[in-house]
Symmetry: C5
Subunit: 295 residues, 5 copies
């Protein structure tokens, strides 16, 4: 997640540099040709460009809106993960009778739960597993392609054991199962966003429209100022490209980029909360923020 | 689902070729007539075309947005199917007491559940049943027009048997019934999207507006460059047609086309997850992706 | 629901014929006057018409979108009715112990449930009750102004009897009550859509704007071609009227019109599914589709 | 709720008369000045007005859409109140064992429930309490600033008594509590809509933009026809004002105005349904509709 | 929340004064240069400005809409907090058997619950804790970085004690746990809105577009009236800036500003309701409203 304090313009410019260069070159070329013989005659009214521009603006508004939805949904899912993690531990505090094992059970759930958050983060971002997660799975003596799914199954197995140990009332067991179902849903929703490519046809269409606009726009501008004409003919398509890139940046929130959902940071928050609630010793410090973003 | 790596432009062009040809012919005809006697006089200001174009753009934005909603809803439903399939098996692991039969029960549920996914896929796409599904129903000795519905009833019957066998607490039984209700809902939602034609009147209206725009646009362009006029008069309506076709492509996500929800692939993922969770032997390989899409 | 195969253009034209005639007459009148003395001087720039046109387009986009929402919500509610009807019978199969009465109980629920669907359809469409429904109520020996509500109460009474007969666990009873609550909600939502007029003020406003546009548009067109001017001055307002009518068509989905939610057809599907699940003898044939729509 | 049959144009015109007069005066003033010395020179291109007009149209579209959402949400909440009122009584029928007290309990719940509807209506509209409600609270011998909240507490106390009387299973008690929770939510949602002013800053901004448009528009119109210029310069801002007023009318649905959610009428429907279900003697007649609206 | 009666225009003007000054200076500079040599020649058609303006208007409409969504979601969350606070106390009244301790338990829950509301308000606004909250935590003898989370854990511990004391049926315990889960969710949602910066890239993009528009607009205006040109060239960008600021004002509803969600006032309402329901002595007076807003 990008922070308020500081934004790296450089970071953004890097993203669109190739498009900017291509558009500039094209504008210079057309601008130059436009002063010669044949092309000089061609005149495509600005109204036609405006018509294409309106259509393109509406598609970009749609695109922007959908990207934002995906980004916001991702943030909502992780908000729900924070809530459900806290509720899970709180329900154990609430439902388990006081005996020697209670603290131990709660602590093992708390550790498994925040490890789940880290494992999910790493799985979605396709980065190598951290030491924390790797050592957990080593100690567990089991592994899977889909580590978060395995951990949820371990939650279920531990709950089966706890139910057996305390002769826990089925109502309470089912209530905790509800929380595990919610975590399963959150995991599945993350996978859905991660694995669903934004419809290619829309992207291609918007790109094509930008190129069309870039092509016809110079023929509608008057030819008295060579430099100004080229600047305008470059500027307008670059604006559209820039907005499209902004949308592309937001639409994939689990890609290990500065615009990601801050999963590492949220996982650390969850770890802090759960260790406090379960009275575990180690309270980790807040994740360090990057210069202009937090992961 | 179309993939990022590669898009078949050819595939898309095939979809709009007839419209493109018709529009081109018409533009040539009008462009030619426009240079003769009577038609030369007719002048419909570009502002009128712009007015129609704005209206059309807004309707297309609405259309695009609704198609996207349908496509995204279909994807969400299948995301929920993934989650509920996992939760179903996890709940059985969680709730059934350990005895000789437990593994067997869980495995039969896992097989029935992923068969349900395949049967639903095939039913929605109206393709012939695969061997996997056909042999399951042969072994079952029962069949129905609506196979997925029958399988859910079999889930319920098996749950009744399990409840009887283990004297399962009604709370737990009801919790699993909740998951079956969710699967019933997902199935019904897929049928709803499949069977509900996007309102014909909107499609007809948009088509009609495109033809109107195509008709009046050439009369607003100046007549000095025959070729350019024809190109512009062809290009603009083709853009609108192309966007409408993109919307049509997205709006029906269960039609056995490259833009489908990747149900086969998701079903295979479910099969892989459930066989692992239920400790079944056969882990199928991921479904092979097409050159530029995954089904 | 209109089908894909065939659309009755005639049906649609009938809906807008009076508006078209009025607009045409007005355009001819203004177009004629415009060539005489006083009116000839009046010139309202097309930009003003464009401004009004943009505002009107945005309101129509809003209108179109809200009508679609209503139509889609109605379809969703009936999709939920399909799901909940199936779940209701499946839950009875799942929860009732096997004894002599089980089949009989399930069958009476199945019949009551699909009769509820037909009664709801007829109540919403305000058509005379079919024989199927009438004979059911005759046999029941009770009646009400709100027949579907009475049938749901009968469901509740039957459940009370079943609970008594089998000493059914309250958990299971409550789970079935949940399904009855969902059916109550669906019924209430249908009534809400049926009884809530789309805000009159918006309709009046849009109509008024169309008349304003119709009035000022001809004064912006140039006067060299009498016929063309009249055609354009007629065409543009007709397009707006046509879109508004399309929206009006969609917004009331329970009016016994070809654009209705296909409630009869969905009720028949439910009847088919439930009779199969409850092992009742009579499987009705699918409802016959009209030439270009299905009810 | 305004009805279809009849709309009072007069009612609407009264709402905007001051704005219309102010705008007309201003237009006449500017139109007159525009023909003299200094002002005659000033020319603000119509494109600038169009730019402001587009921005304003989009903000009005947003405003219209949000007002509609509020109105529709209010209608949905009251739809849910209808459903939950019916479900509450149905659940009592379903869950209470047959004994001498059952009918009496159900009837007292039915009366308290429809009184709750009337009390909520009166509280939201800030109108004096009706006799029906006042006499109920007199008989109850208790009162509160927030009468509906008190009645829900009475529901809860009565449920506690019923649970005690019948030794009602906690499952059933909890299921009815769910319905009371839903009624609490509906009440809170109504209060939220009632107490939340639509953001002032947006209203001020839209008003300001309309005044800006009104100011610059006359300078873009040509000066050949004094009357026409004034008419156009008046008409366009009035259209925008009228649309804004329409939005303002919809956004506050609990203000005792003709555009209100028809709470009195829905409460009467609930009373009719509940008295029938609870076999109470008095079936009230439908609320009388106003000439062009129903409250 | 800003109130209807009164709006501080001064407050708003302060927010945009720097932008207004910068834009005015720039317009004067360009307006002056435009009358000299080189710049006089440059002409960027108004259509290009209109194209940029349309794009910008659509992005601002999107921005406005998303800010409103955040503000409305925040208001909804606090509406849910009101409802769930009432339901929590009502459920205790409903579920706890009558004995000496009941009133005491309910009162301690009521106090803890409204303290939670105040603590959440103060935590979100990052203001120093009030005496009411501080003294509560002093008496409690425990503290945490996340005070609301600690209070919810105390709710859970108190429920565990109550369950033990009354041998409360697990169904009822789970039902109250549901309400605590909802409060956990509401808290987490507030934290999500508080901690999620609105995507920086959109803000930067909109700002950049406004500057582009400001730069090209003067070159499209005709040069006959120096003052009018400067006024128009200043006015239009200021309108866009003002709308963007309005959106920024709404998007962060927990910042201790006049446009905040009125959390203090809602907390006081909750305190009043709960003290009445729990029959506690002190009924606090309504929070005093500011001159033009309520916090």
């Amino acid at each position: 997640m990008l922070l308020k304090k500081n934004i790296s313009i450089v970071y953004f410019l890097k993203l669109i540099k190739w498009d900017v260069m291509a558009i500039t070159l094209y504008s210079i070329m057309v601008g130059t040709l436009d002063h010669f013989a044949f092309f000089n005659d061609i005149d495509i009214p600005l109204s036609v460009s405006a018509l294409v521009g309106t259509l393109l603006s509406l598609l970009l508004a749609f695109r922007t809106s959908q990207s934002y939805e995906r980004w916001w949904e991702a943030r909502n899912i992780w908000g729900a993960i924070v809530n459900d993690s806290r509720s899970l531990i709180r329900q154990l505090i609430h439902f388990l009778p006081n005996d020697d094992m209670k603290t131990q059970y709660i602590q093992s759930f708390a550790i498994r739960q925040y490890t789940w958050c880290y494992a999910l983060t790493e799985g979605l971002r396709k980065v190598p597993a951290s030491d924390k997660v790797d050592s957990y799975f080593k100690a567990l003596g089991a592994d899977s392609d889909n580590r978060p799914n395995l951990l949820l199954t371990k939650h279920a197995e531990a709950m089966a054991e706890i139910t057996d140990h305390y002769q826990l009332d089925p109502n309470r067991q089912v209530q905790i199962d509800n929380t595990i179902v919610k975590l399963t849903d959150a995991m599945g929703k993350c996978e859905r966003i991660k694995n669903t490519v934004f419809p290619r046809s829309y992207s291609v269409m918007i790109h094509f429209l930008i190129y069309v606009l870039m092509t016809i726009l110079p023929f509608g501008l008057e030819d008295n100022h060579y430099i100004v004409e080229i600047m305008v003919a470059t500027l307008v398509p670059v604006l559209f490209i820039a907005i499209e890139r902004t949308a592309i940046l937001m639409q994939d929130p689990f890609e290990n980029k500065p615009t990601d959902t801050p999963m590492s940071s949220l996982s650390a928050t969850i770890e802090r909360n759960l260790t406090e609630m379960a009275e575990l010793p180690a309270h980790p410090k807040p994740a360090e923020a990057g210069t202009f973003y937090v992961m």
